[in-house]
Symmetry: C3
Subunit: 150 residues, 3 copies
Amino acid sequence: MSLYTSHNPVFATFSFYAALLIIKTLFVAFLTGWTRFRKHAFQNPEDCNKMNRGKVKIDEDVERVRRAHLNDLENILPFLTIAFVYVGTGPSLGCAKFLFRLFTAARFMHTLVYAVFVIPQPARALAFFGGMMANLYMIYAIVTTYASGF
Amino acid sequence: MSLYTSHNPVFATFSFYAALLIIKTLFVAFLTGWTRFRKHAFQNPEDCNKMNRGKVKIDEDVERVRRAHLNDLENILPFLTIAFVYVGTGPSLGCAKFLFRLFTAARFMHTLVYAVFVIPQPARALAFFGGMMANLYMIYAIVTTYASGF
Amino acid sequence: MSLYTSHNPVFATFSFYAALLIIKTLFVAFLTGWTRFRKHAFQNPEDCNKMNRGKVKIDEDVERVRRAHLNDLENILPFLTIAFVYVGTGPSLGCAKFLFRLFTAARFMHTLVYAVFVIPQPARALAFFGGMMANLYMIYAIVTTYASGF
């Protein structure tokens, strides 16, 4: 019997947190756009006009949001596959829920600390490692479960 | 019964459009390489030789293709997980097909407008928001279906 | 019957190699951090302090690791969805194992050649195309299997 059905509460939990994490990532894309308009700093000549008083230039506030966005791609996108495969190893609901919530909380924190409020270190490092720990634990569970798949 | 089988036409449709979107994204990688050779602009000393007359330099045409590529990673990769999870919510075939086609058309358009023909705004903004709308609608459907997974 | 269960050896193999590829990608993130500390080159003012003697500056060694990382995102993340969908087409275990191993070997090679040992071309080009071939073959198999999903 497949574990990948909405009747499996672990898969339902995965689906919910995956959607939450992706909407957060897409929000950072909008934050980049909003910061570009606020600072009049664009990447393409065709994006600049009289109304937005835009220029093709590099702005440190925009770059900061872009770094937060790239860090999301580097961590959240791998999580989506890791967590999905982890669901297939048949973890307990409590354990899976703890890991998905830890990762989600860490990445929301990461965005707030890096791109929204700019809070001093080690806030960002802690948020980064919180998410990384959840990922590494699930990878360990996957590799030991599926070692026969080598 | 799992919805993730080739007998489910919604999953078959997801599989087809996922492959189409990924081949489009990989095409942009080749377009970057081709533009690098055409403009003799590379990133690494070991990539430059007499035959390609390459130099380590930044070229605006190359950068434009790279921006289109990064925008694909930021939008198409989240779509792949969103659409997959959305299949599990049991949508009608018609609704899923409409959303997958809308997103696919929008992203093909985005690449053509941004990296191939360089068409003035608002062409790229429309293509971007077309894809974004499909993603946001599916996220809404997922979160409401799986709210119990919180 | 769904092919997405740990009883299907093809899915078990996919799960194993997905975990291996993701841990390799996360390793490159740590390599970036380690190179930043080694070269005292950071991106954010809040990351620099007296202990790490850090400055906000661009360092070519750091940039090389970051390029390897971005190339992973551009190739490994699409593979994760391609290979997953490919499992659903019901390939033979031998064929799937060959493709997953080819891709994994090629990407481990790519990182070693690009970011760790800096080996001259065509080493990196070969590693890149090795992975690309596996991806393109699987996309071909998906599109022909699910052409009815158009």
